[in-house]
């Protein structure tokens, strides 16, 4: 018999809806894809041309979809302009409201230009400076999305300096994974791009696992009070033990490409994308189900409407529509040895 039984209390609903999960998911896909794409557009690393092209497709499609999910998570989306009329420099979210539209605008122009490469070469000179500016804002979006959540002391599961790193590493893993999936659908020479992207995916998955392992170690040893409190709150739950194990396994799968040859990399890529999404779902939705004051855990029931299942289907459908349109318009990838854009 427990010493304390809670007999009357209320369940606090999640204030951040599944839309928030998808915003952080698509934003991370976009900023990570922007980082990956610069291997070719800025650094001209040998063998990266097709891989960078796939990353650009992920960047363009995700950058278009991310703000839609963000707006949908606002309970008053029509008031989004208040972010600009009431700029608040001490709030990370307020900075995000500046960084995000600039990043999205730069990402669209940069990826479109790099993907279409105008034949007359007139704008080819703009690709590198655009890549630099997009990279700068991609890093700012990565920073703000991590910090915004990390600073919330009231939620110990979020209040760790490892969270922004976990977002970055899982983001790189998912973006490389999604680029592998996109690559599988676009005719051309897959081998080199697959090699490059699977390497990024594998190393990012490894770093993600190490980050989560470090968080667990911090919590179990008591080095981090927030991690220790989180573990104390969830360790008795069979549900949390199950999702923790599932998450660890799904993060380990993308690493298998290093050890087992001949694995279908697009499938590994899809698992990486799912793991990246699941990580955000666990952090946001399950994280909000840990009461700040009450006993035990709250239960989350996915609504069937726009704030739940319908919204999830809708936003995935939107991304699918965008990627189909974008790949159709930009056409097939040039061969690895084909003429390069003017430098």
């Amino acid at each position: 018999m427990p010493a304390i039984i809670e007999t009357v209390n209320i369940t606090h609903e999640a204030a951040w809806l599944p839309w928030a999960v998808f915003y952080f998911f698509f934003a991370a896909l976009a900023f990570s894809a922007a980082i990956i794409s610069t291997a070719w557009t800025l650094l001209r690393r040998p063998g990266w041309k097709r891989a960078a092209r796939m990353a650009l497709l992920v960047l363009l499609s995700s950058a278009i979809v991310a703000p839609v999910a963000l707006l949908a998570d606002l309970h008053q989306p029509g008031r989004f302009w208040h972010f600009y009329t009431h700029f608040t420099p001490w709030s990370w979210m307020s900075w995000g409201a500046l960084f995000l539209p600039l990043f999205v605008a730069l990402a669209i122009v940069y990826s479109w230009l790099a993907l279409t490469q105008p034949k007359d070469g007139r704008l080819a000179w703009a690709i590198r400076p655009l890549a630099m500016a997009t990279l700068a804002f991609a890093l700012l979006v990565a920073l703000y999305t991590g910090m915004e959540v990390m600073v919330v002391k009231a939620r110990p599961i979020w209040n760790t300096a490892l969270l922004p790193w976990a977002y970055l590493f899982t983001g790189l893993m998912g973006a490389a994974g999604l680029a592998l999936v996109v690559d599988a659908f676009i005719p051309g020479d897959h081998a080199t791009a697959e090699r490059k992207l699977s390497k990024v995916m594998g190393y990012a998955a490894l770093l993600s696992l190490l980050t989560l392992g470090l968080w667990l170690a911090e919590g179990l040893t008591g080095i981090s009070d927030a991690a220790a409190r989180t573990i104390a709150a969830i360790s008795g739950s069979a549900y949390w033990r199950m999702i923790g194990l599932a998450l660890a396994l799904s993060l380990a799968v993308p690493i298998l490409g290093f050890f087992i040859r001949g694995l279908p990399l697009a499938v590994l890529g899809l698992i990486a994308v799912a793991a990246m999404w699941a990580f955000r779902w666990v952090v946001f939705m399950d994280g909000q189900m840990i009461p700040k004051t009450g006993a035990g855990l709250y239960a989350y029931r996915l609504p069937m409407g726009a704030d739940g299942l319908l919204g999830i289907i809708g936003i995935i459908g939107l991304w699918l529509a965008v990627i189909i349109i974008v790949t159709t318009i930009t056409g097939p990838a040039p061969r690895q040895g084909a003429a390069q854009p003017a430098e």
């Binding site: 018999m1 427990p2 010493a3 304390i4 039984i5 809670e6 007999t7 009357v8 209390n9 209320i10 369940t11 606090h12 609903e13 204030a15 951040w16 998570d73 606002l74 309970h75 008053q76 008031r79 208040h82 972010f83 009431h86 608040t88 420099p89 001490w90 709030s91 979210m93 307020s94 900075w95 995000g96 409201a97 000179w125 590198r128 400076p129 630099m132 500016a133 700068a136 919330v152 002391k153 009231a154 979020w158 409190r229 709150a233 008795g236 739950s237 069979a238 549900y239 909000q288 009461p291 700040k292 004051t293 009450g294 006993a295 035990g296 855990l297 709250y298 239960a299 003017a342 430098e343």
Partner: protein, 250 residues
């Protein structure tokens, strides 16, 4: 100018602008939110003497009626627990009641996170929300360590206890205080040493506790007779939840 130099200069320009913006931002951020409105000579607070609370929920009802809170949401509630001595499992079980509400902290974590300054603090210490400005982002709901905020499903904005600002500004007591059958809830100005709350706090001395002191929010809802096991997240068994919850816990 060749294109690589132009690219470098453009990129360097962008980075310089970014660094300058970040520097200006850092300076502005250090300033932090300022209190505005209200009477700076007052500091409103609530004292709850748990020895007098009988868990009747009259405060919960009065608050919901006074402030027209949608069904299913609450600005205040009295959490109730069955407690027994862990070392004496066959011993008597007693009931513990804990009224919860916004703590109107002196260092409120909900204020600095608000991206549009809709959540603000008055000079008299009350933390309020400008419903016309709030975008319903829910950031303040996350930042509150007391689970005292929620998104109002009717207004689609953040909502919480205001210490009944409309009543207090008219010279009345908050509805929960007015209706408290045991006289457990007391309200007043702690800057006035002669006020009822100041005298009660002075008399209670070390008996006075706040919720989640480790968060360093300087709450202004004070409890007398608070068992320390209930100051933070309660380490106990939830008993009233749904089957979904039970299956998660199984």
């Amino acid at each position: 100018m060749d294109t690589s130099r132009r690219a470098f200069l453009t990129g360097a320009g962008a980075l310089t602008c970014g660094a300058a913006a970040a520097s200006v931002g850092a300076k502005a951020a250090k300033a932090g939110p300022q209190r505005h409105g209200g009477d700076p000579s007052k500091r409103y607070a609530m004292v709850i003497d748990l020895r007098r609370c009988i868990g009747c929920q009259a405060c919960t009802i009065a608050c919901s009626t006074e402030n027209r809170i949608p069904i299913g949401e609450f600005r205040t509630i009295v959490s109730q627990y069955d407690v027994r001595d862990a070392n004496d499992p066959d011993g008597a079980v007693y009931s513990f009641t804990l009224p919860r509400l916004c703590n109107h902290c002196d260092n409120p974590p909900c204020v600095p996170v608000c991206p549009v300054q809709a959540t603000f603090q008055r000079e008299d210490g009350r933390v309020l929300i400008d419903e016309e400005v709030c975008v319903g982002c829910g950031y303040c709901v996350q930042a509150c360590p007391y689970d005292a905020r929620f998104i109002n499903p009717v207004t689609n904005t953040a909502d919480k206890c205001t210490f009944c600002v409309q009543r207090v500004d008219a010279g009345l007591l908050p509805a929960c205080v007015e209706t408290c059958t045991g006289g457990a809830r007391m309200f007043g100005d702690v800057k006035d040493p002669e006020s009822h709350v100041s005298r009660v706090l002075a008399e209670a001395g070390d008996e006075v506790k706040v919720l989640r002191p480790e968060m360093k929010t300087a709450p202004h809802v004070y409890y007398i007779g608070l068992d320390t096991r209930f100051q933070g997240k309660v380490d106990g068994a939830p008993a009233m939840w749904t089957k979904i919850r039970e299956s998660q816990e199984a």
